[in-house]
Structure formats: structure tokens, C-alpha cells
């Protein structure tokens, strides 16, 4: 008789709010999810929505007019040019650094890795200042370069250089952990079978790291096109000449041309969303091919 009642009470239990001992009650879960949602909504989604709402506040025609304006077009062109130089430069650097660091054992390796990460821990404004101190007209090399008619500070070369500085670590830090994990075994096999060094790199190493490489390039490009602080210091804000898109947004905004500012900003926001979408796709599809892919 007694065992029956126990069985009955055990059978009844799941019908009530049963939950595993290592989880929270459904109510707690819902509250926590709601808090996270509200916080992210206020901090992330509203600003993103505001960009597009303000950009289209005057309708399509004003939106397109703001983008077709000559200074805006010049800014877009400069942003593309800067990224087209800075990203390949840091791509080559990242591959070279990863090859030296991941495939060889040498002294001072961890110091080198730390130095590569340095641009991430220096304020962009301070990096811009450092470049002014080197290339400005009172700087270390500025007067000497001036004598040859070469302008770096307050000109396009300066913008390119600080952008390279700021985005330097992106490709290297994607490749180094992955290539360290993969080791040198496959390359050694290729070499022992008679392949040349370059051939080994092109047909063995590169295919192994291509997705991580793309991932690094993606993040590098997003930062290169969006960098503001460092570029703002070195550019001198010359309209139509040394204004990148983020700087153009600032100028329009400070002139109270809000709709135009948000219209140009919306292009940068679309770029950011595309970057996120591609990045998420790579993480989802090729998670195994990218060691330290998460956490940027």
C-alpha cells in the first residue's frame, strides 16, 4: 500500500514545476533574459536604429543627396584608398609574423607577441600624437622630409600610416594561435618530399589558414575604414582632401547638418553589419579552422 502512494507521489511530481537542480526556475530565467534584452536594446539596438531613423528622416531624396555630395564622395574615396593600402600591408605583416612566430622556436618570442599587440593598448589619439611628433613640421623627421617636398602629417600618407598602426595586430593575432596549434609537421613533410619553400607555403600552409586569414582581414578592414581618433589627429581635417568618412561625419555633425551626417554614418553602419554577418558566418561554418576566433 505504502509503496503505491510513494510511486503515485513520484509520478505526480513531474507534473508540477520540475526542474534540474543545476538550473534556475523558469520565472528567474525569463527575468534574466528580459534584463539582458533591455540592456542590449538600450545600449546596442537603439543607437543602430537611431542611425537609420535619422538618416532617412528627410526621405530617400535627401538621403541620396547627402551621399552624392562631392565632399562625401571624396571622403568615401579616401576611406577606400586608405583601407586598400593598410589592409594588404597588415595582411603581409600578419602572415610573415605568424610564420616566424608559429613555425620556429626562438628567444624573446613572447616579447615579440606582446609588442605586436601594443597598438591595441595605446589610445588612438596617443598614436596619432606620436606620428605628429615624428612627421609634424616641428617633428623629428618632418623638417627633413619637408625639404624634399614630402608631406606626411596632415596629408594622405600620414592617414595611411596611423591606420596601419592602429590595425596592425588584427591579422597576426588570428593567425599566430592557429598556426602554433597546427605545428610544422605538414610543412616538414612537404619539404622532405621535395617541394620548395614558397610552394610549401602556398599549397600547404595557406590552405590551412585561409579562413582565419579572411577573418582577420575582415576585422582589420572594419577598423581601418572606421578609425577616428588617430586619423582625426593626423589628418588636419582638410575637406575633400584629407577627410575620411568618419571625419566627414564629424564635420557634418558639428555643422548641425544632422541628416547628412547620419546618412554618411549609415553607410559605415551597413559596413559594420556586413562585417558582423560575415564574421558570424565564418565562426559558424569554419569554427574548427579558426583557433582563437572568438573573443574579439
Amino acid at each position: 500500500m505504502r509503496s503505491e502512494t510513494i510511486a503515485a507521489s513520484v509520478a505526480e511530481r513531474p507534473a508540477k514545476a520540475w526542474r534540474p537542480a543545476t538550473s534556475e526556475t523558469p520565472a528567474t530565467r525569463r527575468v534574466l533574459i528580459a534584463i539582458a534584452g533591455i540592456f542590449l536594446g538600450l545600449v546596442l539596438l537603439l543607437p543602430l536604429g537611431a542611425v537609420f531613423a535619422q538618416a532617412f528622416s528627410g526621405g530617400w531624396s535627401l538621403y541620396l543627396a547627402a551621399l552624392a555630395e562631392p565632399d562625401a564622395v571624396a571622403a568615401m574615396r579616401l576611406t577606400l584608398l586608405v583601407a586598400a593600402i593598410a589592409v594588404p600591408a597588415n595582411l603581409v605583416f600578419g602572415v610573415a609574423a605568424a610564420w616566424a612566430i608559429a613555425k620556429f622556436e626562438f628567444r624573446g618570442k613572447s616579447l615579440l607577441v606582446t609588442l605586436i599587440d601594443l597598438p591595441f593598448s595605446v589610445s588612438p589619439v596617443i598614436s596619432g600624437l606620436a606620428y605628429i611628433l615624428v612627421f609634424g613640421s616641428h617633428g623629428l623627421l618632418g623638417p627633413w622630409l619637408d625639404a624634399y617636398g614630402i608631406k606626411v602629417a596632415f596629408a594622405v600618407p600620414g592617414i595611411v600610416l596611423v591606420t596601419i598602426f592602429v590595425t596592425l595586430p588584427f591579422v597576426a593575432r588570428e593567425l599566430i594561435p592557429l598556426m602554433e596549434e597546427q605545428g610544422a609537421g605538414e610543412e616538414e613533410a612537404a619539404l622532405s618530399l621535395g617541394a620548395s619553400g614558397w610552394k610549401t607555403f602556398l599549397f600547404v600552409t595557406l590552405p590551412n589558414v585561409k579562413w582565419a586569414l579572411l577573418y582577420g582581414v575582415l576585422l582589420c578592414n572594419a577598423r581601418a575604414m572606421g578609425e577616428f581618433g588617430a586619423v582625426s589627429v593626423i589628418s588636419g581635417h582638410i575637406r575633400g582632401l584629407t577627410n575620411t568618412m568618419p571625419l566627414h561625419v564629424e564635420i557634418l555633425y558639428n555643422e548641425y547638418a544632422f541628416q547628412a551626417a547620419f546618412a554618411v554614418a549609415s553607410l559605415l553602419a551597413i559596413l559594420a553589419l556586413l562585417t558582423l554577418a560575415l564574421k558570424t558566418f565564418l565562426e559558424w561554418r569554419f569554427a574548427g579552422d579558426m583557433a582563437g576566433a572568438r573573443g574579439h
Binding site: T22, L40, L42, A130, Y131, G226, F228, L271, G295
Partner: protein
């Protein structure tokens, strides 16, 4: 054996070490180390008394205090909400979870200038959110509070992204053990789960703090930039540069680098201690 160990590089049959290592060093030296060395030399060249006269200028001190104070508050806010978001994303399954997870990295992808004008539009007294605070007498945009909001946005991903993988790896058996021994859920989370997250939380906090201290683009739009009140140190550097006052700009930069270095070193030491204490590597 000893000679091999003393050698700079261990032998390898792979080619290209000289080329790749040389190129890496030259590139890093020219792009990163040389300009930073010039910055340090220039600030050292100011001389001891001149440096402190510039560094302890009241406007500079106020700007440094705001930069470090607002960064600490923003990092602390992200410590709490970052943990909560990481917890929700790792432990719960709900509609839209993947989308939220992808959106966390938005502050890394969105240019800071865009974030700055967007946040200003929302938190201004007539903005979508600001209008609800204005009647209460709370101004967010154009005050130091605005700087905190911008820094919360900018440094949001760090704590989430450092805590997420550690939380996903945690062995649920310890929580089960705590539960079978009669601990309530809250006690289990507080005494069993949280301690093993401390090192990751600290790392995330440090990264968020470091990022916030140097942030410029998003803050200058929303903070109002009133000297002594809502002017951050990077902005003061820019202002001094525009006045061609290079010594003052250099001194502020040196102060920022110096304080950041001491601060981050201290936090890293605490982190090393907590890893020993709680025995969980990040």
C-alpha cells in the same frame, strides 16, 4: 646541448625564418616602436620640473580624473551586465539567442564616431531615451554621465567574450554536488560558479577599462566637452595639439600611458593571485 640552448633560434628545416623574422621586426619597428619611442623621448626631454608643471595643471588633472573615473564606472557596469549576458547566452536557449550573440560584437565593428552621434541622438534631452529622464532632472548627454554611456557601449563586448568560453567549459557536476548537499540555487551560483569565473571577469574588466581609457571618438560627441567637467584626457591632447602646444600634449599622453600601465599591472597581479586562489586558468 648547452650551446643549442643558448642559441637564439632552435634549428629547423623550414625555410624563411630570416626573411619573415627580419620583415616582422623591421615593420614593427618602423610602424609601432619608432613613433612610440619618439613620444617617450619627447616627454623625457621636457625635464622633470617642466613635465610635472604640465602634468599637474588643474585642467589636465580634471581630464585625467574623468577619463579614469568614467572608464572605471563603465567597466564596472559592464562587469555586472556582461556576466548576466554571458550567463543568459551560455545557459539558456531562447528565440533570437544567436542573433543577440552576433550583435554583442557590434561595438567592435561600428566606427566610434557613428556610435557617438547615435548615442547622442538617443540620450539627448529630446531623444528617444533622454526624454524620459529630462522631466526627472537627469541630463545624460552633454554631461559626464554621457561619457559613461558611450564607454559602456564601446567596452561592452569584453566581459561577455572573456566570460562566455569559461562559463561554457564549467563542469556542471560541481553544481549538482552543491545542490544535492542542500545548497539553494542562489548559494550554489554565488559560492560555486562565481569563484571560478573571477579570473575571466577580471580579465574582461581589465580589457574594458583599457579600451575605455583611450577612447575618443564616441565620447567627444556625447560628453559636451566642458573644461574641468566633461572633458576627457584624449580630447585635451587634441586641443593642446590644435594650439600647437606639443609639450603639454606629450605630457598628458605620458601621464595617461603611465597611469594605465600601473593600473593594468596592478590588476594583472590581482589576476595572478586570484588564479592561484581559485585555481582556474583563463
Amino acid at each position: 646541448m648547452t650551446s643549442a640552448r643558448l642559441a637564439f633560434k632552435q634549428p629547423s628545416i623550414l625555410p624563411g625564418f630570416g626573411l619573415s623574422f627580419g620583415f616582422t621586426l623591421a615593420y614593427l619597428g618602423l610602424i609601432v616602436l619608432f613613433p612610440l619611442a619618439v613620444l617617450i623621448l619627447k616627454s623625457a626631454g621636457l625635464g622633470w620640473t617642466e613635465f610635472w608643471r604640465l602634468a599637474l595643471d588643474p585642467r589636465t588633472v580634471a581630464a585625467l580624473r574623468l577619463s579614469f573615473g568614467a572608464s572605471a564606472i563603465a567597466a564596472a557596469i559592464n562587469l555586472v551586465f556582461g556576466l548576466l549576458i554571458a550567463w543568459v547566452l551560455v545557459r539558456y536557449r531562447f528565440v533570437g539567442r544567436r542573433l543577440i550573440d552576433a550583435m554583442i560584437d557590434l561595438p567592435f565593428a561600428l566606427p566610434t564616431a557613428v556610435a557617438g552621434i547615435a548615442l547622442t541622438a538617443i540620450y539627448a534631452p529630446n531623444g528617444w531615451v533622454g526624454q524620459f529622464f529630462a522631466p526627472l532632472g537627469i541630463k545624460i548627454a552633454y554631461t559626464p554621465l554621457g561619457a559613461v554611456v558611450a564607454l559602456v557601449f564601446v567596452s561592452l563586448p569584453f566581459v561577455v567574450r572573456t566570460v562566455e568560453p569559461v562559463l561554457a567549459e564549467i563542469d556542471r557536476e560541481r553544481e549538482e554536488a552543491a545542490a544535492t548537499l542542500g545548497a539553494s540555487r542562489l548559494l550554489t551560483v554565488w559560492r560555486v560558479v562565481l569563484p571560478s569565473l573571477v579570473p575571466a571577469l577580471l580579465t574582461g574588466f581589465t580589457l574594458a577599462l583599457a579600451r575605455s581609457i583611450g577612447e575618443y571618438g564616441s565620447v567627444i560627441f556625447i560628453a559636451g566637452n566642458i573644461p574641468y567637467v566633461s572633458e576627457i584626457a584624449p580630447l585635451l591632447i587634441v586641443i593642446r595639439l590644435e594650439e600647437f602646444d606639443y609639450p603639454a600634449a606629450t605630457a598628458i599622453a605620458a601621464m595617461m600611458l603611465g597611469i594605465s600601465f600601473v593600473l593594468l599591472l596592478t590588476i594583472n597581479l590581482i589576476g595572478a593571485w586570484s588564479r592561484r586562489r581559485f585555481g582556474h586558468a583563463v
